[in-house]
Amino acid sequence: MELLKCVDLSKSYGDDEALKDINLVIPKGRIVGLLGKNGAGKTTLIKLINDLLTPTKGEILINERPVGVESKKVISYLPERSYMNKSMSVKEALSMFKEFYEDFDYEKCKKTLKKLDLDMEMKISKMSKGMQEKLQLILVMSRRAELYILDEPLAGVDPAARENILDMILTNLGEDASLIISTHLISDIERILDDVIFINEGRIILYSPADELRNRENASIDDIFRRMFKC
């Protein structure tokens, strides 16, 4: 079953082509790593799927329907920036999620926040950047979505806390749900990936099951990536 499908998807800004003819199918129940250097087009692709950009060419289908209200009901998206209004408290942010998303599990979210020592009464403006990122990840993972899209969820987190975050992602991921995780910190997450997508200069270079790739190249995804892009 095709959860997400991109057909001939392109996005340019004036003469600058950020994405070129992306064709991509992501089925249900997969964890997919979207791997690429900074500026490779990862965020552009993710923003297109989330209706934050309008494609120059091509289309995106979610459950065989174009991006819109229905697709937003089933996609849970974590952007690479703070996107909550800073004047709200953690509690208000939770109620807001609850009001807008039918699939939001308020109690589970509250429990996870407690486990990770985040105070419900705290104002978002009083939180450190790391805490804000943690809060957003918890909010996003507390939905029972069909597709989770996490844009660089590890970037601002110190290495010690990364394991915690991976745990949280794995624990909360539903049976048939898929997850797209974009990152340049490959070694930290490659263990949990079903499939990997290498993206460079706006094109998909490679899309393969992770274990198959390891088998073929006898190396870690991280090494293969470094070799391919010489970084």
């Binding site: 934050l52 950009l53 309008t54 937003k72 998206y77 920036r81 996107y83 807008f100 998303y101």
Partner: protein
């Protein structure tokens, strides 16, 4: 869904505005309550100072209301918050209608608060009845309820304001379709739209002058009878209302095509 979106739009707008309203009302009350002033030179000085501050605060509240409406619009639809707004399971029409309704609400409440402050500070106590007497006098002279004239002026001002804010929204929406220089383009485009609307209005006014001698008199003498004034005000009101409706339709149409957030 509209009520939910509107609820948060209003909540986040009034979080800042409520403070302004409160300060303004406190100053206005203090400036207008004569019990505070015993007639000494110093208390006169304080009274004048408070009145002056109230006048300044009224201006500030008007400016702030407009600023907050624009700031919320740009941040919520194109800033960091837009990542939240545009990924909500809500149609773009709902999002835009909510923004329009909150602009109406803010303009109305700010107008109400400013007027209340004005009366509290400058027409307190006995002076309110004096003002009522003046009104009654006028209405006797002109044979038309002066309240209607005031109401018309108020309506035209409000509609003009609604147009102004929507021109700003138009600027922000079109400016953010560009790939760079978005803020500058927003301001320039919004300004241009406002100029166009008012220029077209003025041309209509001149045109009316060539058909109606009484309107022409207004150009020569600067005076007109109350009926002509009411007619002109009504025409202006209708013009601004139509412009507002047109702007609404244009903005919504462009907005529905999709966004490109940074």
């Amino acid at each position: 869904m509209l009520t939910k979106v509107l609820k948060y739009d209003l909540k986040l707008t009034y979080k800042t505005l409520a403070g302004f309203y409160t300060v303004l009302m406190i100053f206005a009350y203090a400036a207008g309550d004569e019990r505070f002033f015993n007639g000494s030179y110093f208390s006169r000085f304080i009274e004048e100072l408070l009145k002056l501050s109230t006048a300044a605060l009224i201006t500030a509240t008007v400016v702030m209301s407009l600023w907050i409406v624009f700031q919320r619009f740009a941040e919520n639809l194109y800033g960091n918050e837009s990542y939240f707004t545009h990924t909500l399971p809500v149609s773009r029409t709902t999002v835009y209608v909510s923004k329009f309704l909150s602009l109406l609400t803010v303009l109305l409440t700010s107008a109400a608060v400013c007027m209340a402050a004005y009366f509290l500070a400058f027409y307190s106590g006995g002076r309110v009845s004096e003002w009522q007497r003046v009104l009654r006098n006028y209405s006797n002279i002109y044979g038309i309820s002066i309240a209607i004239v005031y109401l018309l002026i108020f309506a035209v001002c409000m509609l003009q304001m609604i147009c102004l804010v929507q021109c700003g929204h138009f600027g922000i929406i079109t400016g953010h379709r560009a790939n760079d220089g978005r803020n500058v383009k927003s301001v320039v485009l919004g300004f241009c739209m406002y100029l166009i609307i008012n220029a077209a209005g003025s041309i209509g006014f001149f045109a009316a002058g060539s058909f109606f001698p009484k309107v022409r008199d207004l150009f020569y003498n600067g005076t007109a009878d109350i009926k002509t004034l009411c007619g002109l005000l009504s025409a202006a009101g209708i013009y601004y209302a139509a412009s507002a409706a047109l702007l609404f339709a244009i903005c919504l149409k462009i907005f529905k095509k999709g966004v490109n957030v940074e």
